[in-house]
Amino acid sequence: MGYTIVKKEELIPGQTSMVVIDAPQIAKKAKPGNFVMIRTSEKGERVPLTIADCDKDAGTITIVFLVVGKSTAEMNALNEGDEFMDVCGPLGKPTHIEKSGTVICVGGGTGIAAMHHIAKGHVEAGNRVIAIVGARSKDLLLFCTELSSFCPELRIATDDGSEGHKGFVTEVLLDILETEDDVAEVVAIGPVPMMEAVSNVTRPFEVKTTVSLNSIMVDGIGMCGACRCTVGGETLFACVDGPEFDGHKVDFAELKARLWQFKEQEEESMERFSKECRCDV
């Protein structure tokens, strides 16, 4: 029994796609912050991806992924009506959401999609949400329409200034932190350097900062320990203790090193795949 793709949209052609997957049991249980493990085909590897949205009535979950290697390229080769072989979840601890006042949600790149699910949760809990999204340029921004539909305060930063502030999300964040007295929490999801930079910006303000770690996983259910990370000097597993942790306590240098573990093999796989399918990725 496969998991059918009921909708697919290439958000950034050849680079970032959104798929809506028929997975009623997972949709029923999914909460913001959860992730799933997806395996595309018989010989595929298990890939962890954050649930960007879910529709309990329709029985679907939404996944946004960046094409970075063979497995995600293979995912991207599927179209509406095709099936993923395995979708397992919802996994990980859901985001801790309570009514706490003003929450700043920062999203970068593909992380904007996951951030949007969490921002939605905070709005539903009655918090004032300021969303900051960032990308290299205007064309690479995601989910801005969805975000502005429920979040009136949306700030944009692009590296080239093609939309919003010219520069990094951290500069926008710093601005807000300097003017707003009462920020209860900052949530950051995106590339590791961005989450690290956000944590560094918020540290002097002593604002609670939550980051979602995208470490390498094999099973996603606590069995293998591949996703372990050092948080506050303690070894924790992103899959069962996280994926969200206190950004001020995460050892980002270690996380970055661990994310490169299989670089060589990933490149080998990708090269083979590109030759085989002669696709443009």
Binding site: K29, E45, D219, A257
Partner: protein, 471 residues
């Protein structure tokens, strides 16, 4: 027959093996199995004791004397039927059980001579009489009528404990649904035990046998996440069996443990076995490339990891263990196989720290030299530090195989479940019932990491109790 008592006891029939030098480079099965002649010669060594102690030594209580008698009569089907009465996975057990401490450990012949090779005979029977129709073997019917479609039982986890529960209950006409978190059923049989010790085709055959009995497998269902025990009770399951295994890997809590190149045995074995990393890049899951590998720990899992690393192309693989070879928890046969294949054993070495290069990749580990002291509570001699004596071992991969702790997913989702002081599920030793009525548990999630057959024993006790209550 009359001169049986005077007959000279023949030596135990040796098991044919794949050549040690050759097998270190492939994933094909190491032990090749008996031929018909070898099996018959070995079966005839059995004394057919009036009080067969071997049977008491078997956690699932196989009528060993009975199956060997049938084998001597060349009644393979009869032998298979006898085994299958109590064991749902004979081809697996014949390969991975620690027979030397169980059935064979109790064999009377073993007192003066070598015990009957019960495990090898079990394997022979199971392999030769491969379950063409598992249903027929158990019930004499070609299709299995689920006689009691009003009754259904859920098993969480598709490892040896649950498979035993499923086999037993399905054989008695009860509908069983097995929920597995991974994408393949089998538990440790598929993610943990390597192909060269237990081929996946053998596991698939036994699973197929259970499906023929009417057992349904639901993969990608995580107990406590995709479905909770409360959901199952609401869905009308009459009983639930929890067999989710031991869970999280333990680490050593020493400096450098999160360096790139340091793995848990679970990760390493899961990548290679479940992810078929030995066929990378034909399969997508990669394994880490390493030349010098240190495996920490000396249980069966450590031996599996070391022998796997060798086959994955490492130049040098060492088992690093803080006690001496006599204390090693692995089966003797596994240690011997590892050494024959070229694994080096470094005893009396306790890991102190790992060291990396400027990219955060492992390059060496420092170990503390030890000596043996007084026996500790485990009954084994305790390791004592030799002050100031350390050694640096160059390695670019370390695999930590020092056990597991309970996986929190199902337990956190089910606060009603009573746990023992180590955090494992508390279950009645006779019935397997937990603090929740009609919710049973068995295997590693109750005992901590143990053997396939002890998990099966727990499954069998729980299954009997469930059947007694429902039928």
């Amino acid at each position: 027959m009359s001169d049986k008592k005077k007959k000279v006891v023949r030596p135990r029939t040796p098991m044919p093996h794949q050549d040690a030098m050759k097998r270190g480079t492939n994933f094909s099965e190491v032990a090749l199995g008996y031929s018909r002649e070898q099996a018959l010669v070995e079966a005839e060594r059995c004394l057919q004791c009036k009080k067969p102690l071997c049977q008491d030594g078997c956690p699932v209580n196989i009528d060993i004397k009975g199956f060997i008698a049938a084998l001597v009569d060349e009644d393979l089907k009869g032998a298979y039927d006898v085994i299958r009465k109590t064991n749902s996975l004979p081809a697996v057990c014949g390969r991975v059980c620690p027979q030397e401490t169980q059935c064979e450990g109790k064999c009377i012949l073993g007192k003066k001579h070598e015990p009957v090779a019960i495990g090898r005979l079990e394997r022979y029977v199971a392999d030769t009489y491969a379950a063409e129709s598992a249903c027929e073997e158990v019930t004499d019917l070609s299709t299995c009528a689920l006689e009691r479609d009003d009754l259904k039982v859920a098993c969480i986890g598709a490892g040896p404990a649950s498979l035993t529960v499923a086999g037993y209950l399905a054989g008695r006409g009860i509908k069983v649904d097995v929920f597995e978190a991974l994408h393949e059923p089998g538990g440790v049989l598929v993610y943990g035990i390597p192909e060269f010790r237990l081929p996946k085709s053998i596991v698939a055959r036994e699973l197929g046998g259970l499906e023929e009995l009417g057992v349904s497998f639901h993969t990608n269902w995580v107990g406590g996440k995709t479905i909770t025990i409360q959901d199952m009770l609401e869905q009308g399951y009459n009983a639930i069996f929890i067999g989710v295994g031991a869970g999280l890997p333990r680490f050593l809590k020493i400096p450098g443990e999160n360096l790139v190149g340091v793995f848990s045995a679970n990760e390493y074995l899961t990548r290679v076995n479940l992810g078929r990393a030995y066929e990378f890049p034909n399969y997508d899951t990669p394994a880490y490339n390493a030349r010098r590998v240190a495996v920490i720990g000396a249980g069966n899992v450590a031996m599996d990891a070391a022998r796997t690393a060798l086959r994955m192309g490492a130049d040098e693989v060492s088992i690093v263990y803080r006690r001496s070879e006599d204390e090693m928890p692995a089966r003797r046969e596994e240690i011997e196989h590892a050494v024959e294949e070229g694994v080096r054993i470094r005893c009396l070495c306790g890991p102190l720290s790992f060291h990396g290069d400027d990219k955060g990749c492992l390059k060496a580990m420092t170990v503390q030299k030890m000596e043996l002291g007084e026996p500790d509570e485990s009954g084994r001699c305790s390791p004592v530090c030799l002050d100031g004596e350390t050694e640096q071992i160059p390695c670019d991969m370390a695999i930590i195989a020092v056990g597991t702790r309970p996986n929190p997913i199902l337990l956190e989702a089910t606060p009603e479940l009573g746990l023992n002081k180590w955090g494992y599920i508390e279950a009645d030793p006779e019935t397997g019932e937990t603090s929740m009525p009609n919710v049973f548990a068995g295997g590693d999630i109750v005992t901590g990491a143990a053997t396939v057959i002890s998990a099966m024993g727990a499954g069998r006790r729980a299954a009997k109790e469930i059947a007694d209550r429902l039928l």
